[in-house]
Each structure stands twice: as structure tokens, then as C-alpha cells.
Subunit: 334 residues, 2 copies
């Protein structure tokens, strides 16, 4: 006889989610990275009410984000590396965004499912999600940092897995802070790269690249990937870009990449690519629902979908390669 | 080197949660229990927008709640048994409540952590959470049905695990619909039982008991477990009751149980009892945060906590027994 465990576990898993999101919001891990602390000191420093602190920290222990020995809390290794705001490896930006925006937006999932319309700040038109972000430098920086967070694992995989020795130049279209280019350049000393995005991204990209000592090899070029040609290079990359757009826009972006490549050049698009049977990569399918909630026409896609679009755009071959977790890259060769 | 997978998976797990909650809200499983359906028919019948339907249903496949063969969707076995509204085994009430109330309330977790005050409809006082529920028969019925949903697995375990042959009568204090008494009575033909709760619960309890053909053996008695004595019986039960209340109230309820028992009688309290080290039962710790959000003073507790309170109340022995999933019962013998 089937048990109800899985149903209840998933149905109430927003409890664990929101607990982690509040911990990131309150900078629990940044605080504990400075020094281990006991319940009273940590709760006091973070401004927690005595009723709440004990259960909150112990829930973070049971979820694997904190450790506790003799009443003293420390960060678990992954939390210390990825959720301490003062470390360059911090990926909490995506969780800050999830906490502030996505969690309340997803409360309107049923409306999104019935109307097909986004439920974010930009309203049912949703055209202005990105425009609104780009208009506010603080929000833009937060968003771009969030994108580094959600992409770090894939970026590291691409930096080491892709046959970079065959190529000399690379353009990243929609690079956010530039983390993909940074990881690729750190692992491949011979490469020169261009980050291409709307001009507002320039200072944020340049600061991040400079922090990693790569300003000599990675430069920014301002422009729109819908109205301008992409900077020519041996490899064109788009990470978590294609899924933001509707089918016509996806096809236009793929064609733009083809046009900017030499014969033999490679287009590398990555996303939480859905398995061709659409029955396994739950994260990719849920990400597509997130695009429903956040954008006017965006959706995630299978490897077979993307290979088809690449072939239609003129690429002579295309293949899917798994990266890490839910992310795969689709590589097209011109 | 640690990976960020677990952090991102938990941090965004509200996506999967809300997807299941919306599916229950839209009665996807009740619809599919009638007949398997293809994408277009199912999406049309449920009023889904074409942009949304495919990803939504396939996400439910990838999460294990639906199955799909040749484009035709059916319920997975557990979803068919527990999420079809027309079956008595339906447990979706707790997910309906989570969807309508808890998900938005948890958006204010950070405020709850900082203030120690509940964040539900009843406002920061929170005293009136139950009063408001009991005042509205429809909301009350929904809440009591939700409680059956979250308790079913534990109720079945108690019905078969506890040494019922030693006892003849049983009182359930705060029985909701009466599912625990119903399961116990179905498995133990010799038992007579009383459901004890505020009078508003009476008709709902009696309907549920009658639906199971047990009206001869299970009766309702109206009263308040804070101001009235509990109906005397060989066994007193409280399921998901103690965690609703503050420490003084918990102690008062345990003492009430002791007073209503004969020498040798058993008090059986169950909840998502936290492990004594407070480092493993994440669900119990998160349930305690849910009590922070929903009640003025409620909290979940460890087995050692509860055994201590029972001993203080006069029980001569007390022990913890695991039931199912996160739930355990604490049994005190007078």
C-alpha cells in the first residue's frame, strides 16, 4: 500500500526552503564564518526573539546547513563556502532574490497557470521585468549576483570540460557579473574574452573581473543582443539566457550566435535543460514554471528542442552534454 | 570540495511544494481519478492556459505524482489514493490549508523570528487562531479535515502498534474529525471511545464516525480541555495537540489526562516529536517554527521533554515509540 510520506514531504517542503532563505536574509552564515557561537550569543547578535532562536538554529542543523557541538554552532562546510557573504564563492544572491521576490510571486502560481501571465512586479504584461531590473543599479547588481550563485557549479564544469584548447576567443552574451568568463579564463590561460550586455551591466562586470585579476583578458562591450550583432569570437556562450525568451526570440538569439561565429566555431548554450522525455529533470520543468511567473514568454526546453533550433539556424552539428545537477549545455558547431 | 547542490535544492524547493499545492487546489488528482486524460483534454477541463499546462503536468510527472504513457496522464498510486477528493483516504485537506494559509504566512518567517509573534490571520496576539477557526463551520471543517490528512499515517500505526487488548475504553481529546478513534476502533472491535472537544466539533465528528459505521461505539462529548475535566477512560489520547500550546498549558493538559485515568491507565500523546539531540528530525523542528507562525505560545518538543513533564504530572513510567515518518508517540502509564 502506498504511503503519504512523499506527498506530505513535498507539500510542506516550503518550510525548509523558507527557513534557509530567512537564514541567508539574516546573514546567519556570514556571522558564524567569523567565529562559532552559542545559542544565546548568536541569537542576540542576529536580533532573534528567545522564543524563536533555538528551533531556528536547530532546524538549520537538522537540514545540514549548521553543525552544533557542546551547544556551539558552526557553519557546515558547504554553507561556510557558499553562504558567507564575505567570500568570493558566495552564491546566496540567488536565495536573497528567491526570498524577496520569487517566494511571494509563486504564491500566485495558480493564477499564472490559469492565465498564462507572469505574476511578478512587472504585472501581467511582464515585458518590463528586465527593464525594471536594469533601471535600478542596486537591484541589477543583486540580480546579477544571484545569477552567479545559481550558475557557479555549471560555470566550473564548463571551464574544465569544454575543449578550450581548440579556441582562442570567447564572447559571453548576457554574462551577468561575468562568472562564467572568469572561471573559463582562470582555467584556460590562453583565452581572451568579451562580456556583451546592456551598458548598465558594464561597471558590475568590470568590477567582478577586476576582483579576479582578469581585466587584461576579459573586457566588456555594451549592446543589445536583440538589436546589435554579437561580438565575433571562436566560441559564443549564453548561460541561463535562452530560457528567458519566447520561441521566436530564442530562434533569433541562436541565429545571432551563428552569425558571429567563424566556420568551425562553437555555440554553447546552457540552462536546466529538460530531458527529452520530460519526465525526469523536475528542476528544469519547475524552472520553466518560474519563467511563466517571471517573464512574458520564457520557457525551458529539452535538448532535442534546442538541437532542432540550432540545426534550423544553420549549425552543422549539435549535442547535449550534462554539466552538474540539473544543468546541461547544448553545443552547436558551425 | 563541497558542492552547492543541497543549498540550491532546499533554497528553491518551494517551487515543487507550490506546484503540488496548486495541483491539489485545482483538483488535478480528483479529475484524473475519474479517467486518464491527454494534455489537451486535461488542461481544458481544469481551465489551464496552453502556455502553462504542459510544463505543469510534466513537472508533476517528474515529481512522482503523475504518470504519463503515450501522452496520457494518470495518477501515480499514492496520489490516486491520498489526493482524490472523492476517496475517504483523501489527505489533501492539509495541503489545501498549506496552500491557502501557511504558504503566505511563512513569507513572514523573518518577522516571526525577530518578534516571537505569530503571523497568521489572528494577528500578533495569535490568541484567536483557534477561536476564529471554530467560529466558522466551513473553515472549521476544512481545518479538521486537514488534521486528518496530516495524521493518517500515525493513526494507522497507533491502531495496530499499541497494546489495545489491555484496555476497554479510550478518550481522544481534540479528535478533529475523529480519524484516530476511527482507525483504532476499526482495528480493535472491543473498544468504546469518546471524542472530546468544543461543541462546534460535534456534528463534524459524528458525520465522520457515521460514515465509517462506528456510531454505536464512538460518541462525542462537548467541552473544553482547559476548563472541564476530560471524560474518564482507560486510555487518553492527544494527537497533534500538545504542540499547539505553551509550556504551562502543556503541563495543564498532561495533568488533566492523568486525572482522567485509572491506576494503570495510559496517556498517549503524539506529535512530530523531536529527537533528544535536536539534530535529526528536521520536520519536527520546522513544525515548531510553524507553531511560532500560527500560535501565540506553541512549540514542538523532544521525547525527553515530554517524559519529564509526564513524570512531573505523576505518571510512574513514560516512553517514546516511533510511529511513522516524523511522528512518534509518548506513552505515560499512571
Amino acid at each position: 500500500m502506498p504511503t503519504p510520506d512523499h506527498i506530505l514531504q513535498i507539500g510542506l517542503s516550503f518550510w525548509a526552503s523558507k527557513t534557509l532563505l530567512s537564514a541567508v536574509e539574516m546573514e546567519v552564515f556570514t556571522e558564524l564564518a567569523k567565529r562559532p557561537e552559542d545559542l544565546k550569543t548568536l541569537g542576540g547578535r542576529l536580533g532573534l526573539h528567545p522564543r524563536s532562536a533555538h528551533d531556528f538554529f536547530d532546524a538549520l542543523v537538522a537540514l545540514g546547513f549548521l553543525e552544533r557541538e557542546d551547544g556551539v554552532y558552526t557553519n557546515a562546510p558547504a554553507a561556510d563556502l557558499y553562504l558567507d557573504k564575505r567570500k568570493p564563492s558566495y552564491i546566496g544572491g540567488v536565495l536573497e532574490m528567491a526570498n524577496r521576490r520569487l517566494y511571494p510571486h509563486w504564491d500566485k502560481l495558480t493564477t499564472a497557470l490559469r492565465t498564462g501571465q507572469p505574476q511578478g512586479e512587472a504585472g501581467p504584461d511582464g515585458n518590463n521585468t528586465f527593464a525594471a531590473l536594469y533601471a535600478d543599479p542596486d537591484r541589477l547588481k543583486g540580480f546579477l549576483r544571484a545569477m552567479s550563485g545559481v550558475s557557479r557549479g555549471a560555470n566550473l564544469a564548463i571551464a574544465s570540460k569544454f575543449p578550450w584548447s581548440k579556441y582562442r576567443t570567447v564572447t559571453d552574451a548576457g554574462p551577468a557579473q561575468g562568472d562564467l568568463l572568469v572561471q573559463v579564463a582562470l582555467h584556460n590561460q590562453h583565452l581572451m574574452g568579451i562580456g556583451f550586455d546592456l551598458p548598465e551591466v558594464g561597471p558590475i562586470f568590470e568590477e567582478y573581473v577586476s576582483d579576479h585579476g582578469l581585466s587584461e583578458r576579459l573586457v566588456f562591450q555594451g549592446g543589445s543582443f536583440f538589436t546589435d550583432p554579437l561580438p565575433q569570437a571562436d566560441v559564443i556562450m549564453m548561460g541561463h539566457i535562452l530560457h528567458d525568451w519566447n520561441l521566436d526570440e530564442k530562434r533569433a538569439l541562436i541565429r545571432k550566435a551563428w552569425e558571429a561565429l567563424p566556420e568551425g566555431g562553437a555555440f554553447l548554450a546552457y540552462d536546466a535543460v529538460i530531458d527529452d522525455d520530460r519526465s525526469k529533470n523536475s528542476f528544469g520543468l519547475l524552472m520553466s514554471l518560474n519563467m511563466l511567473i517571471e517573464t512574458k514568454g520564457g520557457f525551458d526546453y529539452t535538448g532535442a528542442d534546442c538541437i532542432g533550433w540550432m540545426k534550423d539556424a544553420g549549425f552543422r552539428e549539435a549535442r547535449v552534454e550534462h554539466l552538474v545537477g540539473p544543468d546541461s549545455m547544448v553545443v552547436g558547431i558551425k
